[in-house]
């Protein structure tokens, strides 16, 4: 009886405070996380073909098993200085708003498990567009993890622009 109560309490607690999985990556010395459910795969850096007339936040396109995938300049999008490509550079293929794109990151770290209660709300740090990408933050293992809202990474208008490639 007691076991049942404890199990139901535990179940109730977990439903109130769900555990989420986040794929973390490094960019410009910071650690970011994206929801694992939106990550399709992680690719080593391959040559990215630039697209003439593309917006500044677009690095170019890659051929992923016969499909053309647009690669986003994540540094540019997050307001960071341009960086060099290294052996650790990766292209993370994500799905956002039913579109598939790649984001270029310095390196991919790990998959972390976070309780919803561990996630703090995003601070008010600026009025720039990129500020809205932050879903929340979490301080874990002496490291600040910035959780990204991928669905806000690209606006509907921008999706329209990308569709024309």
């Amino acid at each position: 009886m007691a076991t049942n109560v404890s199990a139901s309490l535990s179940k109730s607690k977990s439903s109130d405070d769900p555990i989420l999985q986040w794929v973390t990556f490094h960019l410009g010395g910071e650690t970011y996380g994206v929801n694992v459910m939106q990550v399709q795969e992680v690719l080593r850096y391959t040559e990215i073909a630039p697209v003439p007339g593309a917006p500044s936040y677009v690095l170019g396109i890659i051929n992923l098993r016969g499909n053309v995938v647009t690669v986003i300049d994540t540094r540019h999008r997050f307001g960071l200085e341009p960086g060099d490509m290294t052996d650790n550079t990766r292209i993370v293929i994500i799905e956002a708003e039913k579109h598939v794109v790649g984001i270029l990151v310095d390196s991919v770290a790990e998959v972390v498990y976070l309780r919803q209660s561990e996630v703090e709300s995003a601070p008010n740090v600026g009025n720039e567009e990129s500020a809205k990408f932050i879903q929340g933050v979490c301080h874990k293992n002496n490291e600040l993890l910035i959780l990204i809202e991928l669905n806000k990474l690209i606006t509907d208008e921008e999706w329209g622009e990308l569709g024309s490639f």
């Binding site: 410009g28 010395g29 910071e30 999008r77 997050f78 307001g79 960071l80 703090e120 709300s121 995003a122 601070p123 008010n124 740090v125 600026g126 009025n127 720039e128 567009e129 990129s130 500020a131 809205k132 990408f133 932050i134 933050v137 301080h139 002496n142 600040l144 910035i146 990204i148």
Partner: protein, 350 residues
């Protein structure tokens, strides 16, 4: 001197409290005329002129009376000067013969008292209408509180819009302004704009002196949270404005660190400031930003706290420029920060 002579002198003074030079001229003239027109006074001319000279002198000295008295006397219409001629009947000249002993006339102090007496009735003669008018003038001269400054600094609504009604019987709260209030106005209720001065500054308060890129700044302790040493790099947050250095994890949680040097002196900002940031000072008064994250000021050095009184600060009234500057601490020659305004400023900027 007999009573009549005193009355005469008093009458003189009462009638002649006009600008000194005019009095002198007119009295001299009238005395001269009277002397010349009186045949009986031929032998006593010298004595008469010296007699007439005494009140003349005193009338001149009445110019030394307090300015307020003189101004009151000057308000007497010129027409009142005319009785001057009347005051010199020849019969009165005979009087001077009786008074002869010049030594009796001489006590100037006594005559001055008379002069004061003579002024007294004049003041009372001004009586109610003039007195009220004078009072109105004084009232209008008193620092009238225009509501204009209230609306001016939009960035500091809390402080600047706070127009406090203060009893003049509490001079301590009004600092210099109150100390200059006349005693008789104690019961008057005067609306005094707090300008840039927050409520906590009405009594002694402590400040922490910090060094930001070579500039000394004073932060009031009432709005100060904790001081943290910077042991790791600030975390850059996507989209953070230029005024933010990033996030810093502290024992009290994450704080947003403000680029203090860029905030207070953007025209002289040197990017080298960031490399020398040793401490962050979190602010307790940032609830106005409606953000759960605490604000913290990046500083290079932290000095000792300093206790200040209201009078130690030159408070700013106009905050259109540099709204974060509450005033200047005279003893330390440094700027006193208005943290509340900084919080609002950052919120507004976003």
């Amino acid at each position: 001197m007999n009573d009549r002579a005193e009355d005469l002198i008093g009458q003189y003074l009462a009638d002649l409290l006009v600008p000194a030079q005019n009095v002198e001229d007119r009295v001299n003239q009238s005395v001269r005329e009277n002397i010349e027109s009186s045949a009986e006074a031929t032998n006593q001319r010298f004595a008469l002129s010296s007699q007439a000279g005494t009140p003349l002198l005193n009338a001149t000295q009445s110019a030394r009376l307090p300015a307020a008295d003189i101004s009151v006397a000057n308000k007497k219409p010129a027409a009142t000067l005319e009785p001057l001629a009347k005051a010199e009947p020849s019969a009165k000249l005979e009087l001077s013969a009786k008074v002869e002993p010049l030594a009796k006339v001489e006590p100037l102090a006594k005559v001055e008292q008379l002069a004061a007496k003579a002024v007294q009735p004049l003041e009372s003669a001004l009586a109610e209408p003039a007195r009220q008018q004078l009072q109105q003038l004084l009232n209008s001269a008193w620092p009238a509180v225009a509501p204009a400054p209230v609306a001016a600094p939009a960035l500091s609504p809390k402080h600047v819009s706070a127009v406090s009604t203060v009893e003049m019987s509490e001079p301590a709260q009004l600092c210099k302004l109150a100390s200059s209030a006349p005693a008789e106005r104690k019961t008057a209720v005067v609306v005094v704009p707090s300008a840039g001065k927050p409520d906590w500054a009405n009594k002694a308060f402590d400040t922490l002196i910090v060094d930001v890129a070579g500039l000394k700044l004073a932060i009031p302790l009432v709005v100060l949270g904790q001081i943290f040493q910077v042991t790791e790099a600030f975390s850059h947050l996507p989209g953070q404005g230029p005024l933010f250095l990033g996030a810093l994890n502290t024992p009290r949680g994450l704080v947003r660190v403000i680029n203090t040097a860029l905030l207070v002196m953007p025209e002289r900002y040197d990017t080298g400031f960031i490399d020398d940031v040793r401490f962050v000072v979190s602010l307790a008064g940032d609830s106005l930003t409606q953000d759960p994250w605490q604000l913290a000021l990046a500083v290079n050095r932290v000095a000792q706290p300093v206790s200040l009184a209201c009078e130690d600060v030159v408070w700013r009234g106009e905050r259109s420029k540099r709204p974060w500057l509450l005033g200047t601490v005279k003893s330390q020659m440094c700027a006193l920060l208005d943290v509340t305004v900084i919080g609002q400023f950052l919120s507004a900027a976003h």
